[in-house]
Symmetry: C3
Subunit: 139 residues, 3 copies
C-alpha cells in the first residue's frame, strides 16, 4: 500500500469544457507503479469542475457548454449574489451540479477509463485561471 | 489492507433508471470479508450513469426519467452533435449531470447504504447495452 | 495505513443549503493524525445531499436554493410519486443531481479544501431531520 499526493496547476483555459486527460497523466509518472488502486482528482475551486465524458468529438463539449448555459442562465431575476459579475453565480451552480472531484480506478499502472472516456476541466468563468488540482493516488 | 478489483457486465436494460443493488452485491462475494472499507463502482461509458437513490417506489424512478427528459430535451436547436441519433447528446449531458461513479462505504462486510438507498443504473440510450462496471474494493 | 469510520448525526436544519464544515471537522479529532489520506462523507438518505461549494457569502447559498427550486419544481404535471408531499419527488431529483457523497483529500492532518471551499449539507425536505453521515477516513 502506497500513497502519492501532488498538486497540479492546469494550464489556464477559456470558459467551456476542455479535455485534460493527457495533461494530467503526463504529470503523474508515478501512476505506472500502481497495479491496482484509485486516483482522486480534486479541484480546489468553486467556479470550475472536473468531470468524465466523451473524449472524441469536440461538438460534444460545445453542446455541453451550450446546454448548461441555457439551463443556468446569467442574470436570473432571483439571483442576489451579483457583485462578482454575471458569470459568478452560474459558475457556483455549475460547480455544484457537476462536482469538484473525479475518482478513477487504476489498473495495471493506468487510469482505467473506458474507450470513450476522458477527463474534462470545465472552466465556468469568463476569465481564464490556472486551476489547482490536488491529486491523491493510492494502491 | 486488501484490494479487490473486478469488472462486471450488467444485464442490458432499456432507457431509464433501474435498481441494480442486488445484481452488483451478488457479483461481489468478497465484500463479506471487509470489515471497514470503500467500494468504488465506475461505469466505463459516457452514455449511462450510476447513482444512489430511493430503492422502494418504482414511481420515483419513472419521475426521475421524466424530469431529466424534460430538462435535457432531444433535438435542442443549439445541438451540433447530432450524427449519432437524437438520444446521444442528451445521454452525454445526463452522464455529466449524474456522474460515472459512486463510492459507498463498507461496514461489517456490507455496503453501508441507508435504509432507503439503492444503487441505480441509469441507461440513457434507447438501445440496450451490456454496461461495464469496474468495481474496486479496499479495506 | 489506518482506517477510521464513524457515524455523525448532523443538527437538524431547514430546507436549503447549510455550511457544515466546522460541525464535521469538530466531530473528527482523528483527522489530525493522518498525514496523507482521503475522507469520504456519505449521507445515508435520499432526500438530502452533501456538496462542496463557496464558503463565504450566504447569498450564494440562497441563490443555489432558488435556482434548484426553479429547475426542479414541485407539482410538475408528469410526477406520479406524489403521496409523500409535493417536496418529496423534487428532493429525490435534487439528491440525484448533487449526490450523496463527497470525497476530500487529507493533507497534513486537515481536509485539503481550497480557500473558498466548504462542505454543504443540502436539506431538500420542508421538515427538518437529523441527517446521518457515515464518515470513512483512511491514510
Amino acid at each position: 500500500m502506497r500513497w502519492h499526493q501532488t498538486q497540479l496547476r492546469l494550464k489556464p483555459r477559456s470558459r467551456g469544457f476542455h479535455l485534460v486527460t493527457q495533461e494530467i497523466v503526463s504529470a503523474l509518472p508515478e501512476l505506472g507503479s500502481f497495479k491496482i488502486g484509485m486516483a482522486h482528482l480534486f479541484i480546489q475551486h468553486t467556479s470550475a469542475s472536473l468531470a468524465i465524458n466523451e473524449n472524441a468529438d469536440p461538438d460534444v463539449r460545445g453542446d455541453m457548454e451550450r446546454w448548461f448555459n441555457h439551463a443556468v442562465p446569467e442574470n436570473a431575476r432571483y439571483f442576489e449574489h451579483t457583485t462578482e459579475g454575471p458569470d459568478d453565480m452560474p459558475a457556483h451552480l455549475k460547480a455544484t451540479l457537476v462536482g469538484a472531484a473525479v475518482t478513477i480506478p487504476i489498473r495495471d499502472g493506468r487510469l482505467a477509463l473506458g474507450t470513450w472516456q476522458g477527463v474534462y476541466l470545465w472552466e465556468h468563468r469568463l476569465t481564464s485561471h490556472r486551476r489547482r488540482v490536488l491529486v491523491t493516488i493510492q494502491g
